[in-house]
């Protein structure tokens, strides 16, 4: 094997290089030559093509993402955007770190492994910050539920998420499942992880201290995943999509579990000076980011990397995306202790390099220099594009479209709606995830937000919800992104937690399409404005571009995760009432807002009109009332109103513990609108009679509209003069859809998964 070295590059400066095939443009290649003062070696070329890919460099999104960095940090943010994940102070000496990321294209090519390694990757990001990962969530989007390819993709993705997360021992406490034909051929697999650590255990990625040792931990390096970021994540699919399977990584959750335990033991022993996970772009990314962050020189002896295949070439070793690997910087004195911990856990640990004087990253292969670059040029100085923006041609006509005529609300409509793929029970998916491992899960699906206890002594805990609505965002990207944030914020507040921070995964089509870039620019502007108004800083996230197949982009889908804080998880408000005779109150105002609604979609496959109006001051007020209601013990249940409107919320809350409701709709809007409108800023609460006066007086005093709409009772949902449906009938409609589409899970009657059904 002849390897292209720096010496050869100097001798043979005009060698024709395949930079276009590797994804670099002409001007980008010219810039590489300018930085190096010569042509890059084959290995360097591979590194630049990876690090300057859209996925790693954020070259199209950077100018827009700056808005998030400009937001007020608040007094809880310990580490902001730029590191692997943001870190938030939650009190009691504890910090949490959380982030959501995409693994969309790999999950279409190879659903099981793509989704599994999506979980693995985000978990390592959290581990890298010094935290013990304690939960995962996954917002998922698929093509039409009854499309044949969805039958291939969905079961594999769900099994992959479960297979990896369950084996890591991380409870999966929520997420989303959305069906829409725009995701056909390009499902969205977003994965969120949250970890917790003592504040003084935060780890950073900077490699400093000349003479310190660079240690590669974890799995051997193989040929899997080569080109994952440049091939899969930074280009649109064409007809040969699934043929790209060698670009998908293969996961080993057992190795990741060992890696977690080994790293945490090293952190606790204060044995690590800097650490970086190996994810997209593998060793290339880890070496350049640690040395660039530390403003240090680094030398790596590539032949020391343990390989699965001896014939691998240096550029393959550097580009491999083999999973379950970490890069640690340790002092020579601590090296024996680090190796001993690795051995205890059965984790491979290899000293592959050292921090050196100067500011060059030098990689050798059997003593020949194959890479000699300034690491910052790869990690930080990639190209930045201000892409052209163009409001889509059909935007105005889409918004101007009239909605189909409204029907008369009746039992048949309600049953069709709750059985529709986007509103039906997600039990089929969720039962394949371990939701209780670690013993701290207080709320999980189907509750509005997942809640996990951080301290057994004090009851301190966190709440998390993720939301996104591609139809709303298609109709109005600025408002759509704000509605995603507002819904997640409302979900977190509904269980009684104070929303404190935001992460986001921005799933869009090709940035080279000005119409997509306009959607992206509008959505980021909307999200940043809303975060400022709600006082929730963005701690980090991920951009996923090129989500389009055969020229058709997905609906723009910003997925927003909101972190909330509970000083005592025992006072969480659940979504369902457990007692008959409690008052049902509707908080907020219902308007005639069915543009982009589930009703328009499920009944007419119609997308048009305007999404619901955003009123962030109202969202904030509603949140304060819900948190106060929880703190003062006034609420026995609270459920946010969103997709499917009041009707959906009534059904879900009634089915939760099998107690029905008698509802009298107020005069004014027609019953159909009151039941199915998706106006934002609303919640349904159940209040014991003894608390009703106190609660309604609080709403009045704060100026939050509060309407008594009924009482919990019986074994049916009865909306006076509109419909009456027994709970058993509602349950069979609500629960039947996914098992009918994807096959039964297990025989017998299912107990309610997060609390016994009554």
């Amino acid at each position: 094997m002849t390897v292209d070295t720096v010496a050869q590059a100097e001798q043979d400066p005009e060698l024709d290089q395949p930079y276009l095939e590797l994804g670099l443009k002409d001007d980008e290649y010219a810039k590489v030559r300018e930085i190096l003062g010569r042509r890059p070696t084959q290995t360097e070329l591979a590194m630049y093509s990876i690090m300057w890919s859209e996925h790693c460099s954020y070259k199209s999104s950077k100018v827009h993402l700056r808005q998030f960095g400009d937001l007020p940090a608040g007094d809880r943010l310990l580490v902001g955007m730029g590191e692997n994940a943001g870190v938030v102070d939650v009190g009691e000496g504890l910090a949490v770190t959380f982030k959501v990321e995409s693994h969309n294209h790999p999950s279409y090519v190879e659903p099981y492994q793509g989704a599994a390694t999506g979980i693995g990757g985000i978990v390592r990001d959290i581990l890298t910050m010094g935290a013990r990962p304690v939960l995962v969530m996954d917002p998922l989007r698929f093509g039409d539920a009854d499309h044949p390819d969805t039958k291939r993709v969905l079961p594999g993705i769900v099994a992959g998420i479960g297979g990896y997360g369950n084996c890591l021992g991380l409870p999966n406490i929520g997420g989303e499942v959305v069906f829409d034909p725009s995701y056909q051929g390009n499902p969205l697999v977003n994965a969120l992880c949250l970890g917790v650590m003592p504040v003084d255990r935060i780890q950073l990625s900077a490699a400093t201290g000349v003479g310190n040792i660079v240690v590669l931990l974890g799995a051997k390096t193989g040929r899997d995943g080569i080109g994952g970021v440049s091939v899969l994540a930074s280009a649109t699919f064409d007809a040969d999509g699934p043929a790209r399977r060698p670009s998908v990584q293969v996961g080993d959750p057992f190795m990741e579990k060992l890696l977690i335990e080994a790293c945490l033991e090293m952190y606790d022993g204060k044995l690590v000076q800097g650490i970086q996970d190996l994810g997209g772009a593998g060793l290339t990314c880890a070496l350049t980011e640690t040395s660039a962050a530390g403003k240090s020189g680094m030398r790596a002896h590539l032949e020391r990397v343990p390989l699965r295949e001896a014939s691998m070439e240096p550029h393959e070793v550097l580009a491999s995306e083999s999973q379950e690997r970490m890069l640690a910087i340790v002092t020579p004195a601590d090296l024996p202790a680090v190796l001993a911990i690795a051995e205890k856990w059965g984790v491979l640990a290899t000293a592959i390099g050292e921090v050196i004087e100067g500011d060059r990253l030098v990689v050798t292969w059997h003593d020949e220099v194959v890479v000699d670059v300034p690491p910052g040029s790869l990690a930080d100085d990639g190209p930045v594009y201000t892409r052209p923006l163009q409001r889509p041609d059909d935007q105005d006509s889409l918004v101007a479209q009239a909605l189909p005529p409204y029907p008369v609300a009746d039992a048949a409509l309600l049953l069709r709606m709750i059985a529709s793929p986007n509103l039906c029970s997600r039990r089929w998916v969720v039962e394949q995830y371990d939701r209780v491992v670690l013993g701290d899960t207080v709320l999980a699906w189907p509750e509005d937000a997942g809640v996990v206890r951080l301290s057994e002594e004090t009851g301190l805990g966190v709440a998390l919800a993720t939301d996104g609505n591609g139809r709303y965002t298609r109709l109005d990207p600025y408002a759509g992104a704000q509605l995603a944030l507002a819904e997640a914020y409302r979900n977190v507040a509904a269980i009684g937690a104070i929303p404190i921070a935001v992460t986001n995964c921005l799933n869009f089509g090709s940035p080279e399409d000005p119409a997509v870039m306009w959607q992206f620019a509008e959505a980021t502007r909307g999200l940043a404005d809303a975060c400022r108004e709600l006082g929730t800083p963005v701690t980090g996230g991920n951009v996923s571009f090129y989500n389009s197949t055969a020229g058709a982009a997905i609906n723009p889908t910003p997925v927003v995760g909101v972190l909330g804080l509970l000083d005592d998880v025992a006072r969480r408000t659940p979504m369902g009432w457990r007692e008959p005779g409690e008052s049902l109150l509707l908080l907020g105002e219902t308007r005639d807002e069915l543009g982009g609604s589930e009703w328009a979609w499920a009944e007419h496959r119609h997308i048009g009109g305007r999404p619901p109006v955003v009123d962030l001051a109202r969202e904030k007020l509603l949140g304060e009332v819900l948190v106060a209601g929880s703190r003062d013990g006034m609420l026995s249940a609270a459920h946010d109103l969103s997709d499917g409107g009041l009707a959906q919320a009534l059904v879900e809350s009634a089915l939760r513990h099998g107690i029905g409701a008698r509802v009298v709709l107020p005069a004014g809007l027609e019953p159909f609108v009151q039941l199915f409108s998706e106006s934002a800023g609303r919640a349904l609460v159940a209040v014991p009679r003894s608390e009703e006066l106190r609660f309604t007086e609080m709403c009045n005093a704060r100026g939050l509209p509060c309407t008594r709409i009924g009482v919990t009772d019986g074994d049916a949902l009865d909306v006076q003069d509109v419909l009456t449906v027994p709970l058993a009938e509602l349950r069979s409609a609500y629960e039947g859809t996914l098992p009918a589409l994807f096959g039964p899970l297990a025989g017998g009657t299912a107990q309610d998964p997060a609390g016994p059904a009554l």
Binding site: A159, G162, G163, N166, C167, L168, G169, D252, P253, F254, M255, K257, L258, W345, G346, V430, E431, Q432, Y433, D434, R435, V436, V437, L438, G439, D440, T441, V442, R453, E456, V569, A570, G743, P744, L745, A746, G747, G748, T749, A750, Q751, D752, P753, A754, G755, P756
Partner: protein
């Protein structure tokens, strides 16, 4: 002095901290035991927790049974040491031949996690005496390979000797033969249970506290011993 109950951690154990919590909530001291250490450190009873020991890439529990700690546990169990295997721990007990039969892939081929009703069939073992015979309890089940199988003769013998300690009620989540959720050895000191009693020890985080009885049972057994 409170009883000391060991919880073994294998590489890939996941519910070990949860088992320790359940032991503490029952009023005993939890002692962490390490797979590579053959010494039981004087514990009065042992829990083999749930998880995916060694990734369960071979048969579940097939590698864990060769851990140094297991050789000691097998000997001690013969001498009457109470041993509870939960989920992966149950699989390890079967692989170690402390219990008969085997746990295979769920009939429907999916991992399944739900709150499951069980009927306690034998309330006389070291781990079930806090229950009443015939009592129904709700604890979470979560496994991919929880389908209990054995040959007909073994199943008949288990039934005849009252060694089925719990059965699934209201739906069998994994296809286990004769709805078997847990069994015991002849002496009643070794119990394997597929669902997770340690995840039903606090009303806040579980479906209830029905699982605590497994851990209070063994304390009673140790006091009476």
């Amino acid at each position: 002095m409170p009883a000391r109950i060991g919880v073994v951690t294998f590489p890939g154990s996941l519910d070990d901290r949860d088992a320790q919590r359940a032991v503490r909530l029952a009023g005993a001291e939890a002692v962490a035991l390490w797979h590579g250490d053959a010494d039981l450190h004087g514990v009065d009873a042992v829990v083999l927790p749930g998880g995916f020991s060694y990734g369960d890439y071979l048969r579940c529990g097939a590698i864990a049974r060769f851990a140094p700690v297991m050789a000691t546990i097998v000997d001690a169990a013969a001498g009457g040491l109470p041993v509870l295997g939960i989920c992966n721990g149950f699989q390890v007990l079967c692989e170690s031949h402390l219990l008969p039969g085997a746990l295979t892939r769920n009939q429907h081929l999916h991992f399944i996690n739900r709150d499951q009703t069980l009927k306690i069939e034998n309330a006389t073992t070291d781990w079930t005496s806090a229950y009443d015979g015939g009592e129904q309890i709700v604890i979470p089940v979560k496994n991919g390979e929880g389908c209990y199988v054995a040959d007909e003769r073994t199943l008949d013998a288990l039934e005849a000797e009252g060694r089925v300690i719990a059965r699934y009620v209201g739906g069998n989540p994994n296809g286990s033969l004769r709805d078997i959720a847990g069994i015991t050895n002849e002496r009643g000191n070794v119990v394997g249970i597929m669902p997770h009693p340690e995840h039903a020890v606090e009303a806040l985080t579980g479906p209830g506290t029905d699982g605590l009885g497994f851990f209070t049972s063994v304390l009673k057994a140790l006091t009476n011993a």
